[in-house]
Amino acid sequence: MTARVVSKAEDLLPVYDILIVGAGPAGMAAAIEASKAGARVVVLDENPRPGGQIYREITRNRPGERSYLGSDYWKGKPLADLFAECSGDYAAKATVWSIEHTEDGEGKDHHRVGLTVAGVARMIEAAAVVLATGAQERPMSVPGWTLPGVMTAGAAQIALKSSGVVPSAPVVLAGCGPLLYLLASQLADAGGHNITLLDTSQSLLRWEALRHLPGFLGSPYLVKGLGLLLKTKRHIRVVTRVQSLAILGQNTVEGVRFATRLKTEALQAETVLLHQGVVPAINLATAAGCPLMWNERQRAFQPVTDAEGRTPRRGILIAGDSAGIVGAQAAEMGGRIAALAALSDLGLAKSASLIRDLQGRRQRFFQGRDFLDALYSPARAFLVPSDPETIVCRCEEISAGKLREVITLGPPGPNQLKTFIRCGMGPCQGRLCAATVTEIMAAAKGMNPGEIGTYRLRSPVKPVRLAELAALPHAPRALKAVTGRDPVDHQFKEEGHSL
């Protein structure tokens, strides 16, 4: 069998057993597992080819040409091969913008999913939905971060994986977390030069991290991490314990100014790459009504799920980093587990023992995570920007000072801030400011971010053109409500829902 590649909305089935959003490690693994059991499966993904961000362009890249991507990247190859051979449908360049609960003809739970493929919107249904939307980088609001020439470290890595391009030198990488060191090492291997890494972790050995050291010592991350540190420090200037950072320039990046405890220094830069860890991509889950919880260790909100990925919304499961950051290999197992759980819930397969086996194997990748989370926990100065001029909401251009000023007026949470000053209401729908807004509010009120909460999100979670919505088939009842006339002269397909 090979996966059926769907390039038009009309070629999707009207109903699937399991609909998977995202074709990264969790999504691909879920599709492989679910289609083995003979379920009608579809994977919808925004990018032109599978792999997600971690295995970006894994189906096109060849190790001989892009060896600098490192051995972990090539682990995606066998997974992508299996995915290409599975019996499901795969729609690339597909955007899912809504999920709502409905019932099928027999009163069973169903989910109606709004999506767009190649400029055409359509509503299809699924008995179960597996969200494998992955992670995004935690925003790092520093002065000047909206200037052209500033990107995330993840963006530079994506460009390297997908097009073999590197950031123009001089390059400054700033922030914290394993990805920053991985990228630095990949750039050096790809022949990059004039690279400076500004590490904003407060201390390389924090007591909090040491507490989790025993777990890390037996984990698969140890050898990899040490190797990266050593290699990076040989080829790249690394400045540790950076306490403040400003990006300088008028219309584009010209340099950075940073301070450590001992000195302040300015550097010229053409490109600045920011990163302070990744957080779950929760927009679709939140808009689908999945409740969130605060993960203190990872300092991020994540959807509430059980050990098999089920959310409290019946029939919606979440796998991989979008349910809490676990990394690619654990995500792959999480995808399989969620698919097996969905199959079992739908009565399509019995899978309890297989799930237990996978959970046992996944445990190995959880070991050592606590240490990494604690070691690379972002410094407070970079979670809560102190400079009042620093932009927090990039879309609506709301500064930290403006937010603090409005917070003193007493809005109870981020949703009220949003109605006061429109933070989080631009095209990115809060993806690039939600974390910072919660942190600023928590700091201002002396509360925990978990108590502050985050934006409530509504569908559509991605922009959809009015023309696409208008072209959806509408029930006669809905047309009459809008036009006041009986639409007798027209043929209607009762496929979507009545708007």
Binding site: S163, V165, E270, E397
Partner: protein, 108 residues
């Protein structure tokens, strides 16, 4: 802002604000623009400040451009195609002009 490690092998031609650009087949539009030396793709809606692609993964919406007449497309999610006409977006956009006085009424 981005430099290619290798020469383009299979070129695809497109235009950005009328200027002819070359990309590698399979490149995403945002990456292709940055690699072709385009430093900014739009001016922000509120203050008119210059902006450029930031996350390259569909999250930040900084790379919004007009592609073949369709506004607000995320350049990081579109694969470059030969002959594409790409325009920068400056400030808040207006509705496209109606092509006829009663267009749209015919739908129902």
């Amino acid at each position: 802002m981005l430099s290619r490690l290798r020469e383009i092998e299979q070129s695809v031609h497109f235009t950005f604000d009328g200027a002819s650009m070359r990309a590698e087949r399979g490149d995403m539009l945002a990456t292709a623009l940055l690699a072709a030396g385009v430093h900014q793709v739009r001016h922000s809606v509120v203050s008119g400040a210059p902006r450029a692609p930031y996350c390259l993964m569909g999250v930040c919406f900084e790379c919004l451009v007009t592609v073949d007449g369709v506004q607000n497309r995320q350049a990081c999610l579109i694969e470059v195609e030969g002959g594409m006409t790409v325009l920068s977006q400056n400030g808040a956009s207006s509705l496209p002009p109606r092509s006829g006085p009663d267009e749209g009424r015919e739908v129902l």
